[in-house]
Subunit: 815 residues, 2 copies
């Protein structure tokens, strides 16, 4: 570039590991392996000339090992610049592609580069499915090494129907139950249940606190934030993976009202992140890595629910920020592999990828749309209530002394849960067991309490209630509820209230806790209750004109379907999913013919919930934590201009800028220590403020640090030069520090009169971290240049948005 | 604004009708209803001050009737500016929202505005479903007013199985068949078939040519282009709707190798576009209208296949350009309504939304993945071959004399189709009938030729072939093919070749022609052949170790499943859909358990086809027609800079600009007539070229035209002023024309060193039409201003992309 030789400004991009980059260590590394490859500079500043790349003769090793230095990486709890990262990756790709005809090695490199994405997806799909299904949720009495499926397979005496009740398989919580039989043993069982629950939850919270504080909660709010371009180091690391997996099993086994689906998404993303380290392309590029994480979250749902298409849509609709079609195909492939792996592992034992397989296929009636919409309204109301209550509780936890005793909190909640849950059959069983019980339609041989119908003639002269038995006579189309059903109704109603209240305080505790299963359980209870009500209404009033359609021989009301719709409605009300929820539900249950009722219930639920509060539970948690998340769903509605948002404001001191020449190292360091801005514009001179480019604070700090250590003769009085031609260096003085390589020469600039709605759109769509604001110039004196006025960062925009909606702008904590 | 009173520059946005806006007519309208509402100016130029909106006291009527003038609209065959349109809509929304507390009427207006989107979706869902299912594909012999379902419902003698063979219902093509029975009648039937086909196709092509030339073809390439922001007036108009519906029925009935699914998407979009005229919000805003059209295309697929979720995904993956989550929810709702309407109309007569319902649910074996992947490879190869062959044929049609005789071409192709199709059972039947026949698994009572299996003992001593009968003995797990199956194999192989060749020449003719059914038919044939082959291979070699899993009592190979996968693979190879295709296929068949095989076949097909050519059939047709479509899927890989693409180039004359003051009307008109640019930058003066804003050519022409007609004293020497303060007007001279209102004051500008990959990204994501290029300035002398260098338009980018991939840049025809 130039012959002076001491301008080590060619530091490339490259990303960071789990740990914060240690500056002194990287400077040491620099001594051993000085980077001289030209093409890598595509990172922070784009190469200005078109012909630059030709002399790029980077060695293969450099290609793989660049990014030893911190330039172009990000601090923890900071936002990435999508444009920059994607541009870096395109540069890298172009270079590999161009060299592919030079040697066989280069050709192989290019081919492996092209396929590494698919290979990574294959690995994630394979390993996540294995890892996630290997959660030992119980123990096999025939041999502890068997999993659920193999345990029950080996014990030949179980039929297909009874696979859940295979006697040799005991979940951890069940293990202590039933040790003593008889009427007096109830108290013993009760005590055992409670102490077992306390032990498990205590272990879980202790492990989380000791080894991986990030392992708590659902993880989806943080993953949404990370995918939108935020750095949280260690959030997707190996310790989080390990501890979250262990504590998730403990938490689920302790009988707390929580599910494993949300945390499984987090675990899958950890898997994805760890596999990213195998491939330079993904290790070194934050944008590419986020594409992989989007796919991993699809895999998480795919495995958790056995719903591959639903997983892809979940990632698209709920989790991802940037989801191009290419990522969609990759996610699809990863979900395919995961689903296929799941099928070969066969964890549910019925060689179908269906968790809550429903066996009824009775058609529904138009009339039933009314109760379906009612369920949607219930789901929406419940979702809105849950979000408000949970937010109020979490805010109290955050702001009062409660938050200081997380272990005690978990212990108390577990104690309350266990004490209240044991007496009621429907709360004692696990959430997913409860859901599949409620989704189930009563077949002829069903012995459950919910299926205790009296067999009855057409005349309606009720008698002969077969207690806890099945009715073999007069078909299933005409059913009056027996005493078992009435008992079940009361128990379910109590369970509904209990589950609602306990889930409010459980979600957000310092243990892994998902929300899918608890909210589905609440919805399923409500749905089943309504379904039984409808069924009895039709039974006792089948002469009403509106029930005319029901008088035929086919069954009319299927309470299991109501439970399914209620579950969808409540889940929709809490998470505000629509399309993905419908797809997940019908992949979950196999009920393709119920797509219209599902859509009706889900849409109603979303409308009702949105009318009561715009945010879903995940967005609410993101806001509570103050993460810088620019919601892609909501439009910016106010009529402000970029000049109202940019820093500095009119009253502030003027913008701190660097000049392209003339500043000494001391001056630059003073500027850095005096200000807290995350970047500085470089201008030609203080007088004109004409823009040259933009330098990130972090890059500047690292580069000066490196220069001081590496370059001889650098003192406080050395000049810092951002110019291209260093011929103007002062002879006799100390050698200058050339930092042109770290300038971004084409930062995006908008004019100060750009409306904020357009600015927000630009930030959102291009994934910017900051944007310069220049003066349009026309309103001032003629012949004034288009001057640099200020900078808008993502944080400024979020603060502005908070202000416009009367929230505290200081709640946005991070950059 | 100012007191001079003659500055009628507040022309608002608002979009155009089907017809090109007649300038003189709009000027006439202007006389009757001069617009003085301030807030409407949000259109072309953003209101510079924040406090402007307060004095907006727009009358209700103006609110509904603005946009009488052409300012802010687009010419035919031009690209829209998404940013501008969305900003316009936000301004409109903000205004309505702000006023909602002023009066009850305003409140109602605001509520109706919020719900108009959903109402529109409801209408589209309802009407499209009714319109599309009312296509009279045949006639009921019991009474011509019955549709298929009612016809067969009334004739009580049909069972569920036989619903397709209901004797009273005759499709148009069947109507003449079988008029005479007996051996000698074959020739009569043949002749009738051919002449019937010729009559229908002749009618179709004549109607298309006479009334609606846009009604030909599939329509999906054009809809993709329109959705990406292109204007083709009349493409979605009422004549196109009417003629396309009629000719589609004719073309399908004529027995040509074409389907109705693609055209149905076009028809649904026409419905959507026509309904848009009911709502000002959508009539006047091109971006909002495109959101509706995206949803309408989802409705089209939802109705055509009975696949609501698949429809939404099809719109997302294949058709739409800008598909925010809000549009996804709306599409989802519209698809829900359409599916629901479809269910209540019940066109397929089985109260399920399933077109090709498959009744088998036999599990598949791991080993079968090999043939499934083979089918995927076949699909990919076939797709790539089809695209190349069809492109070559279409290019020939376009460039040679062939294109001048479209009626003759249609007649010849119909003649060839009819002559060759009649002798073969499988080509004579309609495409969808063929597919459902091939998807069907042989049940016990099936009398089809394909189900002619010999019943046989375990030993394999073949005998007792029941000709065209069913085998009642020894279960279905062991089947040797009988003579009927062997005949079918030959006929299917011939049909495969015939269908492939004839579809190549059919797709792109001047009749409505879809591609889904023909390519699915080809795939289904190939799949069924492979399925029968596999079945026989397993049957004769069930002692091979790899077939060990098959020796159990369950059925091993299901040829119908192979047909299903083949259909998906071929459709995927042609259209390159992935996720949407899988969802459509399993909604189409109800085969939820076959999602992994479907995914495997589809992914393989896409990989193979992509390796042979990057473009799907729709993209290829878009390129053939020279539409300005910026493919969102493909990355720009070259290392060029914005300065290499912008106009003017170095060798060109300098950029034509307007100055903000000092130009006369004559000068501006001379500039307009001398150049063909679609817009002009406005600069402070010719010397500095410092940018003020940007003016679109069309807006300029219309405004000057209006001023000449409306404003007194405007002559050629009148000054054109773009300044805000008109105090500098020359006293004594003719009054000036104030055109500040049409300037875009904050046009997006990039520097000349911005890499093209980033520029393409910005264009794609923000939906820009043009972008200004300014000089970074640092490479030149100090104290020079950041100068305007040139403009990049979408067309420039597309031409540059064509050039970089060694295609003819002149193939991009439109702006």
């Amino acid at each position: 570039m130039d012959n002076s030789g001491f301008c080590n400004d060619d530091y490339s991009g490259g990303s960071s590991d789990d740990d914060l980059v240690d500056l002194s260590a990287t400077a040491q590394d620099l001594l051993e392996d000085p980077p001289d490859d030209e093409w890598n500079r595509g990172g922070p500043g784009y190469t200005p000339g078109g012909g630059r790349g030709q002399n790029g003769t980077a060695k293969l090793l450099d290609l793989l090992d660049d990014g030893l230095h911190g330039v172009g990486t990000y601090d923890d709890f900071n936002t990435i610049d999508w444009m920059k990262e994607k541009s870096k990756d395109r540069d890298r790709h172009r270079e590999i592609y161009k060299k592919k005809n030079q040697s066989v090695l280069d050709l192989l490199l290019s081919v492996s580069d092209a396929f590494s994405g698919w290979l990574l997806m294959l690995l994630i799909g394979l390993m996540s499915a294995h890892w996630l299904t290997d959660l030992k949720e119980g123990v096999c009495l025939n041999g502890f090494w068997f999993n659920h499926e193999h345990c029950c397979w080996n014990s030949k005496d179980t039929t297909f129907q009874e696979r859940d009740k295979c006697p040799h398989w005991k979940s951890w919580a069940e293990l202590t139950l039933g040790v003593s039989e008889g009427a007096s043993a109830y108290v013993v069982n009760y005590l055992l249940y409670v102490s077992w629950a306390l032990l498990f939850s205590y272990l879980a919270v202790i492990l989380v606190r000791a080894f991986a504080p990030y392992a708590c909660g659902s993880g989806i709010p943080e993953i949404k934030t990370i995918l939108s371009g935020f750095i949280i180091r260690g959030y997707l690391g190996k310790w989080t993976l390990l501890i979250k997996t262990i504590t998730l099993v403990l938490a689920v086994s302790s009988g707390l009202s929580l599910g494993k689906e949300g945390p499984l998404v987090h675990v899958a993303c950890c898997c994805g992140n760890i596999f990213c380290h195998l491939f330079t392309k993904y290790r070194k590029n934050e944008a590419k890595r986020r594409e992989v994480l989007s796919a991993a979250s699809a895999v998480g749902v795919s495995v958790a629910f056995g719903a591959p298409v639903g997983g892809v849509l979940f990632s698209l609709e709920e989790v991802s920020y940037y989801f191009p079609l290419k990522t969609m195909w990759r996610s699809f492939f990863a979900a395919l592999v995961a689903a296929f792996t799941l099928r070969s592992i066969n964890p549910f034992g019925n060689s179908q990828l269906v968790l809550f397989y429903v066996e009824f296929h009775t058609p529904w009636h138009l009339l039933e749309l009314v109760p379906f919409v009612l369920l949607g309204i219930f789901g929406g109301l419940w979702g809105a209530f849950f979000i408000r209550a949970n937010m109020a509780w979490c805010r109290r936890r955050k702001n009062t002394r409660l938050g200081r005793y997380p272990v005690l909190e978990v212990a108390l909640v577990t104690l309350a849960t266990a004490l209240l849950a044991f007496p009621n059959d429907y709360t004692r069983m696990s959430g997913s067991h409860l859901i599949s019980e409620l989704f189930n339609d009563c077949s002829l041989l069903d012995s459950s309490q919910l299926c205790d119908y009296t067999s009855q003639g057409k005349g309606g002269a009720g008698n002969a209630s077969l207690s806890y038995g099945a009715n073999f006579s007069s078909g299933l189309s005409e059913r009056a509820a027996g005493p078992g059903v009435y008992t079940a109704i009361w128990q379910l109603a109590l369970a509904l209230v209990f589950k609602t209240l306990i889930t409010v305080v459980t979600f957000g505790m310092k243990v892994p806790s998902g929300l899918f299963i608890p909210s589905m359980a609440v919805g399923a209870i409500a749905g089943r209750l309504l379904g039984i009500g409808m069924e009895q209404l039709v039974f006792y009033n089948h002469d009403w004109p509106i029930f005319k359609g029901c008088s035929s021989s086919t069954k009319c009301i299927t309470p299991g379907l109501y439970a399914m719709l209620g579950a969808a409605a409540c889940l929709g009300g809490v998470t505000r999913m629509t399309v993905s929820l419908v797809v997940i539900m019908f992949e979950l249950t196999g009920g393709l013919e119920y797509i219209v009722p599902l859509m009706a219930a889900t849409m109603t639920s979303k409308w009702v919930a949105d009318a009561l509060g715009r945010e879903g539970i995940y967005e609410a948690h993101i806001r509570l934590n103050g993460y810088p998340f620019l919601e892609p769903k909501e439009e910016f509605k106010h009529k402000t201009l970029a000049m109202d948002v940019m820093r500095p404001r009119c009253s502030d001191p003027p913008l701190s800028v660097l000049t392209q020449s003339g500043m000494s190292v001391d001056q630059v360091e003073a500027l850095i220590s005096d200000t807290s801005y995350s970047g500085f514009p470089v201008v030609v001179s203080q007088e004109t403020q004409r823009l040259v480019g933009f330098v990130l604070r972090r890059d500047l700090v690292i580069s000066i640090e490196n220069a001081r250590r590496m370059q001889e003769g650098i003192v406080g009085a050395s000049q810092v030069l951002f110019t291209e031609h260093t011929s103007a260096q002062p002879y006799g003085g100390p050698p200058p520090v050339c930092l042109r390589g770290i300038i971004d020469l084409s930062p995006l600039a908008i004019t100060d009169h750009t409306p904020m709605d357009i600015t927000v759109d630009i930030f959102r769509k291009l994934g910017l971290r900051q944007c310069l604001v220049t003066q349009n110039g026309v309103f001032f004196l003629l012949y004034l240049c288009r001057r640099l006025l200020g900078i808008i960062t993502k944080k400024d925009i979020l603060k502005h948005m908070a202000q416009m909606t009367n929230r505290d702008p200081e709640s946005i904590l991070f950059n």
